[in-house]
Symmetry: C2
Subunit: 318 residues, 2 copies
């Protein structure tokens, strides 16, 4: 099958691209290389079943042209940082919502019928039910990131109804693993490289978060695309556990053999719109036979190991 | 108080403007006069507390300049027709979602803190619970109109969290009354003017719909803005009843003294994305002391009476 992967040079996109190629598929990757890193595609580039097209999801003609002949779209290109929405209020709208409509229009233009979309557990805002099911009450959005992602979900669903598309919408917890380049494990690792004797922590360390290993995430997406047959298929993706920020700091410090002084800013949230508790009900995905292979602790350790062996990746993100 | 009303020349906007002026407020009305009709503002124009600024909500500099000095925004400008989304897929995104972010940015720019937004019961898609409460499970969108409106809601909420705004989000059923210019009562009326002997009906006549009289709608919005004090306040607005399309045809025909042959297209939906049953739980709004004054039947009859006395309005919409 011929897949079209937006954000193919990113963390999840490049891992997915490698997996699709390993399974014998053709992949057209689309990335503007703004946050994606071309060396993440060095394995893919050795395959004659892979084509990289450098382009922006906000440039519709390039996007539509690149998608021609593809059968299934993985739309992963996004502004993936939940924290800085209020610094750049239009960025989430443009890169997450408008870009997704551009992808949908390109699909319509090219007669591509199936799409998998990387949404986020952040769309639940401050959830009232834990673990949080896909069928939660309509949430009140607390971040521009969450708002832009639930908006993209909404347009995807409307295109399914209006134009006969089939969609797979995945609401991720934070993803960890090889090629991970942003988020709090990255920030802590980087701080401790610079000053192993102390660690500045946003919040009070008690925020409860969930993580999932990138290969487990990809397993789930591929299995869902194979097995789920509704017009609109929505799945939470995470492990059946959560940890406190302090737990992950413990694991990172153990890996690195450091005992920094922890300097909390003391708030109960890490930033405006931060959700102090993320724990998703993933039983729908599990009902298809999926099981994550790594625990949160194992995923954190695997990620720290990766970062230790990828100093250029760490240095590139300042 | 100084109010800023987008879509001030529209059906609901012009009625609201008149009410705000009658209550002694200042109103800056903003409209591009694309579907709004300037003669709806002929009463308002006689007040020295009213200013009309002709501009588009998609033009941010004009919008931001016009809003300066206002204290409360009623954002009613929208693409209000749910039916034709698939003919013009970007229109809902632009005129409902992007335009709303433009309004939010203009508020931020001008330090305006409070917004009331005209959303829609269409955001519930094909609801599973009747009457449908505000806290329904996250719906799957079935129309681009609904998608664009729930997206606008999401961004408004994120701005409340990120920038300290206070919002009133109203999910309307179909609104009827003086200055009503689109929707199925309008279409039926117009058809019967042209050919009183037959009536073409989208669907099978059994779709169950809810309606609310425009002055009851405005009563609710003004009362909520006065009494509800949360950061984000969300209210369904409708009567505690619904009718079948056939019921409203009966009332219209009785008003007009005609007995047309009804030519149903026979589908269970009027159009792609049509919701065959809309019936909202409005107990949250009622708990603030609001009661609609007109029943659905009375609102339909009032609307037909209005259209009979406004042949130029009917003629202007071809």
């Amino acid at each position: 099958m011929r897949f079209f992967v937006t954000g193919c040079a990113g963390f999840i996109g490049s891992n997915l691209t490698d997996r699709l190629l390993a399974a014998g598929h053709q992949v057209v990757g689309y990335d503007n290389l703004s946050t994606g890193q071309q060396h993440f595609l060095s394995d893919a580039a050795r395959s004659d079943r892979f084509t990289l097209i450098e382009g922006d999801v906000l440039h519709s003609p390039t996007l539509a042209g690149a998608m021609r002949g593809s059968e299934f779209v993985f739309h992963l290109a996004a502004n993936a940082d939940v924290r800085f929405g209020t610094h750049r209020p239009r960025k989430d709208l443009e890169q997450n919502t408008i870009a997704t409509v551009n992808v949908l229009e390109a699909m319509r233009h090219n007669g591509v019928r199936r799409i998998a979309y990387a949404s986020t557990g952040s769309i639940y805002g401050e959830a009232q039910i834990f673990p949080t099911p896909e069928t939660s009450p309509i949430p009140v959005q607390t971040s521009l990131y969450g708002a832009s992602k639930i908006s993209a979900e909404a347009f995807i669903e409307a295109y399914c109804e209006g134009f006969g598309l089939q969609a797979y919408i995945f609401r991720f917890v934070s993803i960890l693993g090889e090629r991970y380049t942003h988020g709090h494990v990255f920030d802590f690792y980087k701080q401790l490289q610079i000053h192993p004797d102390y660690l500045d922590v946003l919040g009070n360390g008690k925020q409860r978060k969930s993580y999932l290993y990138v290969q487990d995430c990809i397993d789930a997406m591929l299995l869902a695309a194979e097995k789920a047959q509704h017009k609109v298929n929505i799945f939470n993706l995470g492990t059946d556990e959560y940890c406190e920020v302090d737990d992950s700091i413990n694991w990172i410090c153990q890996c690195l053999g450091v005992t920094p002084q922890r300097r909390y800013d003391g708030r109960d949230r890490g930033w405006v719109g931060d959700n102090p508790f993320i724990f998703l009900d993933c039983s729908a995905m599990r009902a298809l036979g999926w099981r994550p292979r790594l625990t949160i602790r194992e995923a954190v350790i695997r990620t720290v190991d990766y970062l230790r062996n990828a100093p250029s990746v760490v240095a590139a993100r300042t």
